[in-house]
Structures are given as C-alpha cells and as structure tokens.
C-alpha cells in the first residue's frame, strides 16, 4: 500500500523537491553575502551617519524577499489545492475508487496511508521553505522591526507548518464531500484563504490575553508605539482614549474615530475660553493671540501649556492594548498547534465519512 501510494505521487514529489532544493540553494548562495553586508555596512551605519540611506539600500536588496514571502504564504494553499483536494475527489470522479477500495487493503487504511504520506511531504516541504527563509532573512528582521506584521509572522518560523497541514486536510475533506476535483480545489482555496483571514483578524490578537498600559493622555507626543518601554516589535492591537468614567471616546491618541484633537474658541462672548472638541469646555483660559489649533501645528509654549492644563483637567487616559514582543514564540507554538489540531480533526472526519457515508 505504501509502495502504491508512493508510486502515485513520486513524480510530483520529485518536481517539488527539486524546486525546493533550488530555492534553498539560492538562499545558501546569497545569505552569507547579505549577512556580510549587514555586519559591515548596516551595523556600522551609526558611526557614518548614513543609516537612512543604508537601510533603504539594504531593503532594496531584499526586494526578492517579499516575493519569496508571498511564495511561502501561498505554498500551503497550493499544496492543499493541488494535492489535498484531488486526493479522494479524483478517485471518485474518475470511478477508480471502485477498483481501489475493493482490494485486500481496506478503504480506511488506503485513505490513511495516502493522507499521511502526502500530508507529511507537504508539511516537510513547507517547513524546509519556511526555516530556510527565516534563516535567510534574519538580518533583514533585525533591521526592520515588526515581527507580528502578518506577512512577516505568517511566513517565518513555525506557523507555515501548521498552515500546510491544515490546507492539505481541508483539501482532502472538501474533496471527499464535493466528489469533484475542480470544484473541490476552488472550495479549498476559498476555505483556506477565508479561514486564515478570519484567524488573523479575529483570533490571533487574543491567543494570549493582551497587555494593557494606561497613561494620562498627552497631546504633544507622537502617539503610536513611542511610549516608555514600548518595543518596536510589540504588536499594538488598539489604542483608545478613555474619559474619566472609563468610556472610550477616541482612538490613536486622540478624540473620535479619526484620532484628531481639535481645540476651538467657544465664541465671541467669552474670549480665551476654548472647547476641547468632543470632550468639553476647558476650565482654564487660553492666551488670546491664537484662534484655533490642531495637533502638530507648532504652537507657542504658552499655548501648549494651556492645552496640557485643559487635557489634564478632564483626566483622560490613553489605553494601549498590545502583545509584547516576548509573546512571539508562544504565539508561534499556539498557532501551529491549533492548525495541526484542526487538520487532525478534519482528517478524522474524512476517515469517518469515507468509511460510513461514502457510496
């Protein structure tokens, strides 16, 4: 049985193995050079005062990296679509299941052998690609922060392995349910992309309970991820402005949905009285020589002083919800485990379906 399963897949495996080997070879040939550039040019840019130029040049050398990142993101989907979906569907569609499932090998053993052999090959190929890519782009990752950025997070380290297992199992399951190759392939693609997107938007931010940091709202400081102790690799999930009763009245270090802070004079009757738009009337008086003000308009020091006094008067707080960089590996392990468990559950369901429900 193992021999028969291998016979059916060896050509495709060979093609993929060669493609993977070529890519790894490209990594192995270019990686040391990039690392050398990093060691000699990037690390010393501070002493030459040309960090900005060096960074942008360094980035342009990695224009291939984005392409390879997309490839690694796509590899699980392609394996699920081209290997997973036709695995059972093609046998049913072409009628060969009648022969295959009436041999001395029971249909459940037939299924499990094929699933584990092909699935394992998919997972191993994706794993090799992901680890090689992680190694190759390590210098880049040190220069450009943001390890939780989706395209970075989802192509590095462990999670691609989980994705490969999940996409493959999803393809097998949908193939057994739909029984026709091409529709099953399309459904696998849609299901995988939809599932991964939903996970990224709704599940991943809460894999571990995020940390909160609350500080008094400050107008004259750049908002995001610049507070004390914020690591550029932290993942800021939300930044809300709370009023004194704890209700959210704004975001991104400002008021309202746009995150702007606007101070406007109340009117002609009371010179020097300003309104903090969206919050209330300031208790203190403002200097008179300026009419209105938005953030970043380089106001006079007395004006800044008055605004800060006004903001303090409302006891607004800036609540940062974030995942610290130290959660990275926990996240990788959790996410990989979740997708592998999902894959096993799908395989279990397919096994039951093929045994009891199919034909």
């Amino acid at each position: 049985m193992i021999w028969s399963a291998w016979r059916q897949i060896r050509l495709q495996t060979l093609v993929l193995a060669i493609a993977t080997a070529l890519l790894v070879l490209v990594f192995a040939l270019t990686g040391p050079h990039l690392n050398h550039v990093y060691q000699t040019v990037v690390l010393t840019c501070q002493s030459h005062n040309d960090c900005l130029t060096v960074f942008s040049n360094f980035q342009s050398q990695y224009h291939l990296a984005r392409l390879v990142g997309v490839l690694i993101l796509a590899a699980p989907a392609l394996l699920g679509v081209f290997w997973g979906a036709p695995l059972v569907a093609r046998e049913i569609e072409s009628g060969t299941f009648r022969l295959a499932w009436t041999q001395s090998v029971s249909r459940s053993r037939w299924l499990l052998t094929k699933v584990f052999m092909v699935g394992l090959i998919s997972v191993v190929i994706t794993g090799i690609l992901s680890l090689a890519y992680t190694w190759w782009s390590s210098a880049y990752s040190q220069v450009f922060k943001g390890q939780f950025m989706p395209l970075r997070y989802m192509t590095h380290d462990l999670v691609p392995i989980g994705y490969a297992a999940f996409a493959f199992a999803l393809g097998v399951t949908l193939g057994a349910l739909i029984r026709r190759s091409v529709p099953a392939m399309a459904a696998t693609l849609v299901g995988y992309v939809g599932g991964l997107t939903a996970f990224t938007v709704w599940v991943r931010p809460y894999l571990q309970s995020p940390l909160h940091r609350s500080s008094p709202l400050q107008i004259f400081s750049s908002s995001r991820s610049s507070g004390p102790g914020t690591n550029p690799n932290d993942w800021v999930i939300s930044q809300q402005t709370l009023n004194s009763s704890g209700k959210a009245i704004g975001q991104d270090g400002g008021i309202g949905s746009t995150g702007n802070t606007v101070f406007a004079p109340v009117g002609h009757g009371s010179p020097g009285t300003f309104r903090f738009v969206g919050v209330g009337t300031c208790p203190n008086k403002f200097p008179l020589h300026q009419n209105g003000l938005s953030r970043n308009a380089a106001p006079s020091p007395t004006f800044v002083h008055a605004i800060n006094a006004c903001v303090r008067g409302f006891h607004l707080r800036d609540l940062l919800t974030y995942q610290p960089a130290s959660h990275y590996w926990t996240f990788q392990w959790y996410e990989m485990s979740i997708f592998i468990v999902l894959a096993l559950a799908l395989i279990g369901f397919t096994w039951w379906w093929v045994r009891h429900r199919l034909t």
Binding site: S47, H48, T53, N57, T258, N260, S294, R295
Partner: protein
C-alpha cells in the same frame, strides 16, 4: 451552441458574479465615507497645518480593505486556472469530447464559441473587479502618488492579464489533455510571464529618460537624494554612479553594488573615499570611527566631505519613466497581453482542428 456553452458555464459565472457582488457591497458601504473623509480632512489639512497626522491616520484607515486590492493581481491567475485549463482538458480527460465533437456543430465552431464566451466572461470579471478597486482606492492612490508601483492592479491592465491567463490555461489544457497538470502548468507559466513583464519588459515600453546630476553624499546633514527626478510618481528604473571617465562604479545612489558611501580615515586627516580613492583634502575628525552616534557631522566635516566628493567629478545618472507615461504604459500592457491571448487562442483552435485526434 451558445446556449449549451452557457449551460456548462453558468454555475461558475454565478459564483464569480456572487463574489463580485459581495465586494461591490463592501466597497459601496465604505467608499463614500472614505471620499468624504478625504474631502473634509485630507484635502483641507494644509489650512490646519496637521497634514502629517491626518494623512497617516487616513492611510491607516480600512487597512484590511486596502490589502484587498491584491485580489486584482490574483484573480486573473485564478480565472486561467479554474476557467481556462479545464475548459478543453476536462472533455478530453473524461472522453466526452468524442460525443461533443461528433454532433451537428463542428468542433472548430464548438471551440470558438466556448473560447469567446468564457474568455469574454474572464475579461469582464477582471475588468469589473479592477474598476471597483480603482474607484475605491482612488483617494489613497492620489495621496500616495506612486502609480507605477500599483500598475498591475489598477485600471485596464488586469483585463489583458485575464484574457491572457484564460487563453493560456485553455491552450495548455488542449496540449496537456489532463486537468490537474494543465492547471499547475498554467499557474507556473502565468506567474513567470507576469514577473518577466514587471521586472524586465515593462520598463522598456518607451525609452526611459535620464537625468544626470553631480554626485552628492547621502544622509542627514547633506542634501541627500542624488539626481532623482522631481516628481515622486516617476518610476526610477535605476540609479547609477559614474566616475569622471564615464565608467559605472556604483548603484543605488552610492558606490559599489550595494550603494554604500564610506569614508575611512587614518586618524591624521588623510581620508579615503572607499571604492573611489584618496581625498585630496584633509577631513577634520574623520567620520569613520567617530564616537558620536546620534549627531550629524559638523558643518566643517560636511563641507570637507563634499569637497572630497566634488574633486572626483562623480555623477549620478537616474534612469526613469516619467509619471505622465502611466496611461501609455497601461494601454501598451493591455494590448500586448490581448495580442498574446489572441495568438494563443488561434493556436489552440488550429491545434484542435488539425492535430487533435
């Protein structure tokens, strides 16, 4: 025949129509508020003096939907794989072509009808999708102003990609005669052709312009940005540094293949401009090995470095396509891909008539 072709195709057409509808609804809900926000906040930011903040928070808006413009790149490939490749290959694989091609409708008419119907449907799908994305993203695009970096997922080029991908899939299906291998081959060839156009061919549609400027030291404290053309929307194809005899000695606006600009002193003021030569003048406090990490070099050092650079008479040559060629390039790209699609279709038609058993 048209009725039969439509019957065989209608489920796929409904699926595509449904997905387009979902996207249209999402865009119709969010689009007007984006235009409104752009008109009220971004367009008027100059009078409030808060452009940096407003623009950044505007560009962060609807981040997820902005990423969705990737589908315009992906959809032509999917159309080629799922509509093109199985079109004929499935008939052959399952043997139904024996019945289909021996009816009163000749096989050449049969294949021409199918090609026209499904091919046109592919182009309409990609065209509508691109139209929606282009409309929805126009406030973001006009703010970012980098038309050539979003060239292949806006405006009319995706129509050509869809036609080409479909014809490629159908012809590979005819040649390979099996659905799955044909789908895989379509994907690989389509990606290869698209990459070739993006990286090598498109920049040669028209002779690029050149602009030559004296080489300047990059980085803070210096004027920065060598010979770049004035318009940020221009497509800079390459930026090379040449020495006084006209030889190319650097890329990326610097010296050497990595675009570095390094000075190395021996401590006594004698300084080497790496990759170029020894500076004729002395540079006080050579920047290499200087202790201060944050501050920019002192004016005296900047002046001395610029003087050293000037003495070598280096020049920067920027090769670029100006932003006003955008629509010419869009039409070129559309036309080329449509012609390739027509040639492929004609080949497929001929092959089915003359060669296929």
């Amino acid at each position: 025949m048209i009725w039969l072709a439509w019957r065989q195709f209608r489920v796929q057409a409904y699926v595509a129509l449904g997905l387009l509808g979902v996207m249209a609804i999402a865009f119709a809900i969010t689009g007007p508020s984006i235009v409104h926000l752009y008109d009220t906040a971004v367009a008027t930011c100059g009078t409030h003096g808060d452009c940096a903040t407003v623009q950044n928070s505007f560009l962060d808006k609807d981040h997820f939907l902005q990423q969705l413009s990737v589908v315009v790149v992906v959809v032509p490939a999917l159309l080629g794989i799922f509509w093109g490749a199985p079109l004929i290959a499935r008939e052959m694989e399952t043997g139904t072509f024996r019945l289909a091609w021996t009816q009163s409708v000749t096989r050449s008419r049969w294949i021409a009808t199918k090609f026209c119907l499904v091919g046109l449907a592919s182009m309409v799908t990609a065209g509508l999708l691109s139209l929606m994305v282009t409309w929805w993203s126009s406030p973001f695009d006009s703010l970012r102003d980098v038309p050539f970096s979003i060239f292949d997922h806006r405006d009319i080029a995706p129509i050509g990609y869809a036609a080409f991908a479909f014809a490629l899939g159908a012809v590979l299906g005819i040649l390979i005669r099996r659905v799955l291998p044909a789908m895989a081959a379509t994907l690989v060839v389509f990606i290869a052709v698209r990459l070739a156009f993006t990286n090598w061919i498109r920049q040669r549609f028209a002779t690029p312009l050149h602009i030559t400027t004296p080489f300047q030291a990059p980085g803070p404290g210096f004027n920065g940005g060598n010979g770049l053309p004035g318009n940020p929307g221009d497509w800079v194809v390459s930026e090379e540094t040449i020495n006084s005899s006209g030889k190319v000695i650097g890329r990326y606006g610097g010296i050497g293949p990595n675009g570095e600009v390094n000075f190395r002193g021996n401590g006594s003021g004698v300084t080497y401009f790496q990759g170029v030569g020894k500076c004729p003048n002395r540079i006080p406090n050579p920047p290499a090995g200087s202790r201060s990490t944050s501050s920019q070099p002192s004016p005296a050092v900047q002046h001395a470095i610029q003087k050293c650079i000037d003495s070598f008479h280096l020049r920067s040559i920027a090769t670029y396509q100006p932003t006003n060629r955008y629509w010419t390039f869009q039409w070129y790209e559309l036309t080329i891909f449509l012609i390739m699609a027509l040639l492929l279709s004609a080949f497929g038609w001929w092959w089915v008539r003359r060669r296929l058993a």
